[in-house]
Symmetry: D2
Subunit: 437 residues, 4 copies
């Protein structure tokens, strides 16, 4: 048996990486990471180097025995890995900018993980993740693949449905963020709060809130309804207070795209007209961040990273790896096969749900049926996810079109066609499966 | 045993009644209707008289032994009835006009059976139908109640869920219309066509089209995609041809409100601005129709009735009554308890589905799971229906608001609140349960 | 298009064949059978000839234009067939005798289609039927395969689960027999009776009995409880009257093996000790029958055939073929994929259930959940069927053993092992898949 | 808020009580029990006193601050309780002896919790537990009711189905015993073993065995198959080794009654003939135990108690109370509503399943579908449980008869009737609901 744990992070040149490094440093006693391999592609070489050097300074400063490797050779990195994390962005931020701009130019929502943007991010990303899965099966078949790459719901559905790899977990920072938000509105420490989470990625609801074990759902929803704020990545438009109270559960920040469809669209259209779409904002932010990362005196995670939108990613990822490694049997929220947990979904559909995390992987906690008020929307998004995953795997135009038409953010079948065709052309380089067809 | 069949039609003063009378006349040999009681309320007294007189002239002309009664006394009419049909409109066309105008005035879809309009039609109608059910249980407990009143999906859900009356069937002319349309685009006689129907009221899909028993689904969808037209009640905007082919099943005319959301909204907003909303058009049409009905020389169903939008209602209703009475075991499409027929729905949810019609009632044919491309939307509408039915029965503001917020035609939770409050005020007179609260 | 219908009967030398021939003669106007091919194997050559000659005399006497062919060449027969029926018996009656004797010699139920006997009949039969399916796919891919061969439940499960052939229907005469029995105890013509059937092959229940369309279930069950008799193949031990009334539905004759386990076992053990097991009785009966068939003056179905136990097979088979051919859309009871019809079963499990018979095949009628009192036993038998089908396809000893152990007629895991090993040896010749292992 | 925890044990005079007292003493730091009320009825007055005195000596010796109360006044005891445990035996051991003897005298299995004996134990017990539930709702509505009384499956089903009390948990020592047994055959400490448990009470299976988090299911089943032993209450007849390996999961000791039906029956019949049925053995054991308990020098749980059959009851009960009180979120196996955990059961059916234990109660872990080899039997037992629970609540003869007829241990409908009638007469005093009918 190897002495310590080997982690491979694909998309290691991401600006988020220092979060991860910090997480491993903090947990080093319990989770003895020996090697951290940061992998990227040619286009990310420079960023990889900057981030790698920062990581090296961070572990040195922390005086922990984690060896940092940077490489463009994925195969070399994967060999005998214990955990692989994926946080890649096919086509970089320029692709995201197109995902936002093209739909908005036709009056439809343009957003990174929802609607047409989410569909195209899936079409670009799914084949790459499935390739990585094949490499893992060959080079480190017992490793866990923990995927942060969005749209995590569709990616997870694709891996479980179109590969025979079982050691996959989809992960998102939204549930942790929701719990922190609830703790904040209740003005208590978030460790005293428990919530069940059930739904889909970026479409998850918080249920059964308890404080020190006692049920306070009604109070939590009430307080949340008065103060709800959003995430860095999402326009901060509050849900209607009475709506949240009628709903009776805690919606996630991304639910704004559905329950406040028109407000969100108008706001995005305004930003678009002002040339301030989120993709561009992030691109600028990232540029600044990497300037900061370059500073050879920097040897901790810089506070500016928190503006970036990935808060709690480190916690989510490192806690998950820790529990898998140490068979902790604690409760975490991940994307995995439903297996009966949420009665509204089939056993082989992917859900985002509270799970016991064991060395054997996540075991979902049974939630029964979701409230009537939310089960329709989640089923509709699941239909979209299923079609999108299949379209991505097959490079199937008709399915991609169908997925877009049934998405609730799509204004009409005709506009969908226009957007689809324009985006297929714009993202051509990253959609080889569609070009073959 | 009585010699013939006693039919009671509640809302008998409706302009549709001559359709029904014609249907009974045509089938008189097989379905020996002895008494037809047309029941209405004080507000409809004049129409009832006009329609009643026309009906009397029609049976006289046809020389069939059907006795026509008109009455404002529902109890008297119901006693020992064999079949009760309901085709009432709580608040008359003026209420419909409000259902359309108020949402449109806030930029949201205003339509008779969908969105905010459909919700309010349900809130007004459900308590009235449940009252009728109580009367039937007392006065003619073995009678079949056949309800045409919209929104038939919500009304049906309410009757099955909130009464213990089992002899209820919800009926709509949309499936017959779809079959006729398919026959038309295929240029064959509609008797040679069979289709399975599965979904919800005004949200039903045509599956497995066959011609003389041979499967021609692909061809039928292809032909339909090229020529699809709408119904009298719905703006005639064609579905995108490639969308229909990708869908692979025949959508119903009302699906335009979802798959062509923006186009339909724009079109309704235009009509609204021009003062030509459908409710007003129908009101004018009705006025003309009743002028025609008054003509003492008229003794058949006037051809102008076909402009009204209720084509095939007579066929739907009379065929259903005929099969129930004669235990025909033929296949018809009705709203009834799912009982496992469509695997996407629970056994106790109401669906619109092809059924065998026996003397014991409809027995649904098993459809298995709906295609992925359609099961999300139908589940979402079912959530809306369930909340709307409960809101109507309880007079529950929060549930009504929640129902509206989760409806896919609602632009946002804030606009929903504005519309809700304005409509509650506007329809106050017909919402006694809400006033009590 | 060919002028008439081509039927192929595999196992054509069976003593049942004259039933079938009579059925085709009676329906010739509606169902224009042009060719009837009787196929058998070398061991059945003599019987085939006898039956073939009788068939020829029958059609001649009836003066219908059906051409009878007899052949040992299955391929030749299958080419361009419209319907294929299978009524074969792998290992002939000698195998059945072993199926009965060996378990009985160890104090366990020995019966043709239940318990150890049913398991071994499945192990012998399933691979042969799957071979025939492969031939059909090659030689007449649009033909319908109608299988009477027992155990029809396991055979049907195997075909749907382990082949990709869809045009398969499993058929049994038990439901028709049950309906006739109910009509008899009610002293009415069986045409006036309707019943829903739901369950599994040889484990089907009659529900919702109606007379002229009116529900008389309670009365029918009450009358049935007083007079219930069995079938030719089953010992005639009446169900306890109060039990049947408590059950509230009509059990099938084979339910005796479960609800009267000990009585049936004792009775079989007695017969066994007296050397009068059913297999031997049937063998003797068959010998006599074939002597009768040889009579060159015989040109109708001889009345003695009715002692044989296959009453109504002709009706079941010919009515089914007729409805498939003529798209009759009438209701018949067959073994097909559940597709949601019985909520206790998964969509892809085979059930025996009332169906609409169309040219496209059977469409099950939704039954919802079975009564609590019966759903446990049917699930247990389904588990047995699933394991048995898999064991047969794979030639898997462990699965065969497991299937036997979980069968409710098996006395213990140890006795099961003894019986299994002895039967595997005894039937060796007909279990090539097990010998390979 | 009260300073410490108040526990009420109904049936406090049971010989098991010292187990419980020992458990509370051991955990006193973590679980500060302040009051332990032992409640019994007049017939148990003497035992209650003996046990109460022993309990007092035990807490004194252990020097913990637990106050022991004994009372025949249930109401007084329940007021403001935090936890109520029920370990009662309606009709005492004499009733159990009848439960065993009467069926055996007719050649059928006579056993405490299965078959006819289990049915009658349910008929006697369910109404008493439902009475206790009503008291709890009135006197300590926030208390948890933890029921050990057998048949725990039927009792649990009855409480959830026929009361509106939610704070109920059914508990059994079988799963802990199975885990210990597996640890024993693997020769490792049981703390290093994890297993999923899924099924029904006394019909539970052990799945997914892991050692230090690593999957060793195959090895565990293999080792278990070689050495499986039973419990004190069950004859020690080993499962067939190959059967267990084919099954692939760990059966529970009570599965012998089904998989070794004949061996168990023969063994019980032998004991019956020798006058050594288990009920009598236990009665003698208890007599001895109470003699020992009387010893005023005894101030610890006497080692002889372990012969009694209730091993691990203390662990099961005290661990559960501890986790509920301290919101521990650890995994324990209890009887609770399925809520989707085992896909073979409906959401509102009670299952025995691994759960996270929180202050809000148990949350089942999703198990998906059970293996085909076991799901039939569990469904059959669930049918029995559902009918038995309903029969007990309604005092319904027909349902009780039906329950008995469909139980797999019942030899035939006729014998069932004889046994039923004889047992109804024998237990008359404890079946007031049946006498009223």
């Amino acid at each position: 048996m190897r002495q310590g744990v080997k982690i491979v992070t694909i998309g290691g040149g991401s600006s988020y990486t220092p979060e991860l490094v910090e997480g491993f440093i903090k947990r080093h006693k319990e989770l003895p990471v020996k090697e951290l391999w940061l992998v990227d592609i040619e286009e990310g070489r420079e960023k990889l180097e900057i981030v790698g050097n920062l990581a090296k300074r961070m572990v040195k400063k922390a005086n922990v025995d984690i060896k940092i490797y940077t490489t463009l050779n994925r195969e070399e990195a994967l060999r005998d890995a214990d955990f692989v994390t994926t946080q890649l962005r096919v086509g970089q931020l320029d692709a995201r900018i197109k995902d936002e701009k093209i739909p908005l130019s036709h009056g439809a929502m343009g957003q990174e993980t929802n609607g047409a943007g989410g569909l195209f991010k899936a079409l670009r990303t799914v084949p790459v993740i499935l390739d990585i899965v094949e490499d893992i099966k060959r080079l480190c078949p017992n490793a866990w693949l923990i995927n942060f790459t969005n749209p995590a719901g569709i990616v997870s559905e694709a891996v479980f449905r179109y590969s025979d790899f079982k050691n996959y977990i989809g992960l998102c920072n939204v549930p942790i963020g929701m719990k922190k938000e609830v703790a904040k509105v209740l003005e208590v420490d978030s460790d005293r709060i428990d919530m069940d989470f059930a739904g889909l990625n970026h479409m998850v609801y918080g249920l059964n809130v308890s404080l020190d074990g006692d049920d306070i759902t009604k109070e939590a929803v009430e307080k949340f309804s008065q103060h709800n704020t959003s995430m860095k990545n999402i326009k901060d438009i509050a849900f209607n207070k009475e709506f949240v109270n009628s709903l009776g559960v805690i919606p996630c920040p991304y639910h704004r795209y559905y329950y406040k469809k028109e407000d969100m669209l108008q706001s995005e259209l305004d930003s678009f007209k002002e040339g301030k779409i989120r993709g561009q904002v992030v691109k600028d932010l990232e540029k600044d961040l990497f300037e900061i990362y370059k500073d050879e005196n920097l040897d901790i995670k810089p506070p500016q990273l928190e503006q970036r939108g990935g808060a709690y990613y480190s916690d989510a990822a490192c806690n998950l790896i820790n529990s898998l490694h140490n068979d902790k049997k604690d409760i975490q929220v991940v994307n995995t096969l439903n297996n009966g947990a949420i009665s509204d979904f089939k056993d082989d559909e992917v859900v985002e749900v509270s799970c016991i995390i064991t060395k054997q992987g996540p075991k979902p906690i049974s939630m029964g049926y979701l409230p009537t008020s939310v089960n329709g929307l989640v089923r509709q998004i699941k239909s979209f996810e299923l079609l999108a995953a299949k379209a991505a795997v097959e490079g199937n135009y008709d399915l991609a079109y169908l997925a877009l038409c049934i998405n609730p953010l799509t204004p009409s079948d005709d506009i969908a066609k226009t957007i689809l065709d324009e985006m297929l052309e714009a993202h051509k380089k990253y959609l080889p499966k569609f070009n073959m067809a």
